[in-house]
Symmetry: C3
């Protein structure tokens, strides 16, 4: 069970490392810039979560996470050698999987440390969104989280589902919460669901 | 007394949440992007302060701060429904009030934990400026703190006033320091006070 | 010995404070914006390192670092009064020295706290690169670390050299690691060495 969570966590790290590598590729970065962007995306959210919850930062005490990032980034680079370009959709899909993994793992870590429910929901959302936000700020893209595409909202819903089920079965909560997040986000990408956007009707600045 | 400080702190959080919401509105963000920007602005500075001083992060152990943010952001959204546009000045004024509250609360938290005077001044300035800096970076504005408008300087002065008075009366220090910060900043906005700006005279890069 | 490390650390802080001041000058910031940018550059990386390793944040308990920043920034400002413009190369060179100091000091701090070798390498790289990354994000430049110029790669090599030698002699490791980092980076600037850059061959987004 513990082991299952552990591998689930590594899977999330790998997927976000891939998403960082894909964006670095689009931005024509060099080999090491790729590793930096992959790492920031993969461990940025979890690092902030652990700092705020005053837990040991997960990767500082278990370097295998860093090896996961390196393997995922190098694998992606090799795979990209055989492609002329990458679809924006590939990047969005990798990001959606990372989002689903990290939302439930973030909520779970707070839940296991016995924080109140709302903090678990916030931590799930933050773990999932912060790494990608750093990735976009560094690569000078508009952060996905701030665009009107049900991004952070899916994390909020997925983490809430996790919290509701977690007292009965953490494993079931992980699966249901993760699947809900993933489907909502993929649906938002596919059918361009979005929340109402605020708009100024009058003069612009 | 303790309770007074507690409410003062919530007031600062609410005001900065409003300022984040107003900027999100200007940038046409969706409903949840607004909450994210409001939260980052409201708790970014205090989070960094608590991490650096190795204190428990204030909102992780007292979720009422999160409810304050949600209420302030939703209230602002409702209010904005009846407005065609917002003046840049409204945003600047909300920001100035947040700045005043957070400068003295940040200095006070470091002072109560018995850090040296210069650290209290730095923490006041950082608590006040960091959230707004994150807000501007995320929304891709030039951070106010880096523009030549007596921004961080007012925090520095306000926090210094707090530190000078705090040994006699924390409450008086809070009021005087806060009022000094607020008036200096409002004056800087109104009459465009600014520090000398460095300028290159020769070739530009 | 301890004292030697201590001064070495201050030297790194001073050099990065100078590099932050130079960039602020290029960007026409005001007097306090300069201090903010100098501070962020000088202590950003070390702050993140200490937070992640769960060590006391170095400058919060020893304010002399802040005085070092102020003196370095003011000294640079005075020096700039007598110059019409600054060469981009001056900025790059100051940055290279800061990079060399911080790489070995970051690796050393992790090594002394007995973290595994890969974490020491990561911490060296992070200490050196993070402050400059924040500087560039705030000043809205493309972060040097993400451009194809052997930036983070030199830190990785320098920190690895440190770790390989540190078990025999921390002092020797500091000197050799620092010199290797400095020479690699200066060479990269002078002869424009770079790693292969990834490029999309087909359509752009």
């Amino acid at each position: 069970m513990e082991l299952f969570f552990y591998w689930f966590d590594h899977l999330g790290v790998a997927v976000f490392a891939i998403s960082g590598t894909l964006l670095a590729f689009r931005k024509n970065m060099d080999g090491f810039g790729v590793i930096v962007l992959a790492s920031v995306t993969a461990i940025g959210g979890g690092t902030l979560r652990d700092l705020i919850l005053d837990l040991p930062v997960f990767w500082a005490y278990d370097p295998t996470y860093l090896y996961t990032i390196i393997v995922a980034a190098l694998g992606t680079i090799v795979w990209l050698r055989f492609r002329d370009y990458i679809h924006q959709k590939t990047l969005l899909t990798a990001d959606a999987f990372g989002l689903a993994f990290f939302t439930v793992m973030g909520a779970q870590k707070a839940h296991m440390a016995e924080f109140p429910a709302i903090i678990c929901v916030v931590m799930g959302t933050m773990t999932a969104c912060f790494g990608g936000m750093l990735r976009d700020v560094l690569a000078r893209d508009i952060p996905m989280v701030l665009k009107g595409e049900l991004y952070a909202t899916t994390c909020l819903v997925g983490a809430s589902v996790y919290v509701l089920i977690a007292d009965f079965s953490p494993l079931l909560a992980l699966l249901v919460g993760g699947v809900v997040t993933l489907l909502m986000r993929l649906g938002a990408i596919r059918w361009q669901w979005h929340l109402p956007v605020f708009q100024e009707h009058g003069e612009s600045r």
